[in-house]
Symmetry: C2
Subunit: 309 residues, 2 copies
């Protein structure tokens, strides 16, 4: 029953303003997704964005950029290389590849170091790890081409581990439904007026994409009791948002520990459960991204149950 | 410069009182050690015990039992199987195999699950994991043959991660010496009257075995800045000992986090630095071992430095 919920992520921004990558069409994106060993399940679109729900996570495509997240044992590095080969390196303004620490990294088909070696054959860039190896940590690669991100180029990631309580029980139960999960997570309050597309996996596991104008959010739930993981990613500017999205999700899902990664997003722990910040790391990249990583744990002693193997 | 300091460990107790496994001699033990891809560097002996210092950690042999620890990418499960095949399963009263979480588990030649599958072909037993997969955790296998450990069958393990400060700097420096490290760790105070045998690796890294009667201690130091790890293991009864060994070592080495594993040893955090116990787990086995695992972290916020790759 083990499933690796933690994601790999790529983001590519196009330099060539005459290029509209949405026009490549679904068949093209299906090929890119297939490079990562995933497939498109469904999609929604608005004037700004196409949002694809994948068998392992999500893909969002705008005219000049795309973001793709995949979990499990997908090979996402291959997807970014395939894309770059297709459009040509000179069309790329910025590309990044990110990888979160896995629950069971030895089951992955490659390590970040392996991915890095491959990617650097196609495009040059800086890479780093933030966080200790024996705790939560994240790997990042980004190109070092001339490019400066706008301040409004914001990304927020909330990664929750070991969810507990009623919501967790519901998400592991047999009677869950898509609407039930949307209500549980209060998504219509957290992301009002977003068009959504969601999928309930068998026997459990849930993915949802939401878009409104050029804003997106995506939530992926791996509820397995011994290795639960729930991620939120959004480009909504949390500082201007009417609802405290992180605080609400933490309150509902009650994770034992969680990481927050912000790109050009101020740190804000208001409304968090009583916690200890086990470690944090800040990094300002030459491309104008101020990256903040923090690893939190609830401020209570956890009595662990042995897992029989 | 990466080296996996975290150890795998086997312990075997012999049922057949007519068998004296010390008499198997060094050539036999060299073969067992070779099964794990390690080799004997040196040894000391007293009336009760032979203590071998290995290229990757240690082996202690008494008349009716042995304990072997190996780090790096050694294949210790193969060593225990080779031993059991040699003496015959019926000669075994108790056998255990333990594996700590690795910094880079994907570099290991096998997972604990792989090891388990192999070992269970030779001998039946219970296995479990204590601790969350995304944090410090330990795997254990033990046989379920009829056997009851004596209360005095005590083992204490202190596993320290991310050592900091003057001692850490010394252990990473170029001017260290065996005597210098013994003095740094105040070993003559912590373990008075123990005969010792130690080895300084190039460019750094240190191992020491100590024995006194049937008591032993062993310390292994992997000082690498990004993945430091120092372990102490001893069967000295800490409750009756004149010096607070754990508190002294924690004070000297100043690790960011540490685990304590006790077998039939009461929990005692006296003299620990200000800390949070991130999680703990207790387990009473049918063989009479009361096992306590606790994962501690210093109670201060750690500002992490990105590691460039």
């Amino acid at each position: 029953m083990f499933f690796e919920g933690s994601e790999k992520k790529i983001e590519v921004i196009i330099a060539d303003s005459s290029l509209n990558i949405r026009e490549f069409g679904q068949a093209f994106w299906a090929d890119i997704v297939a490079c990562a060993n995933a497939e498109i399940l469904s999609s929604i679109s608005n004037e700004d964005c196409d949002a694809y729900l994948l068998s392992e996570s999500s893909l969002f495509v705008w005219q000049d950029r795309f973001v793709m997240l995949t979990c499990g044992t997908t090979t996402l590095a291959d997807a970014v290389m395939s894309f770059i080969e297709h459009v040509g390196e000179e069309s790329i303004a910025f590309a990044s590849y990110q990888r979160k620490n896995e629950y069971l990294s030895h089951l992955q088909s490659s390590s970040f170091q392996d991915d890095l070696k491959k990617i650097r054959k196609t495009i040059a860039g800086n890479a780093y790890r933030i966080g200790h190896l024996d705790s939560h940590h994240h790997y990042m690669f980004s190109t070092k081409r001339p490019f400066i991100a706008r301040d409004s180029d914001v990304t927020n990631e909330l990664l929750m581990y070991h969810i507990n309580g009623k919501a967790a029980d519901y998400l592991r139960g047999v009677n869950q439904s898509k609407q039930g999960i949307q209500d549980l997570l209060a998504l219509s309050e957290l992301f009002p007026d977003f068009a959504v597309d969601d999928f309930l996996f068998e026997p459990f596991g849930y993915s949802i994409n939401g878009i409104k104008g050029n804003e997106y959010f995506t939530i992926h739930i791996t509820p397995q009791e011994k290795s639960s993981y729930v991620s939120l990613e959004t480009n909504v500017n949390l500082a201007n948002h009417s609802v405290d999205i992180y605080a609400r999700l933490l309150s509902i899902l009650n994770p034992g520990s969680w990481d927050v990664i912000g790109f050009n997003s101020p740190k804000n722990t208001q409304g968090f459960p009583a916690h200890l910040c086990l470690g944090s790391c800040s990094l300002a990249t030459e491309q104008g991204y101020n990256i903040d990583f923090s690893h939190y744990q609830q401020l209570c002693h956890e009595v662990l149950i042995p897992e029989y193997l």
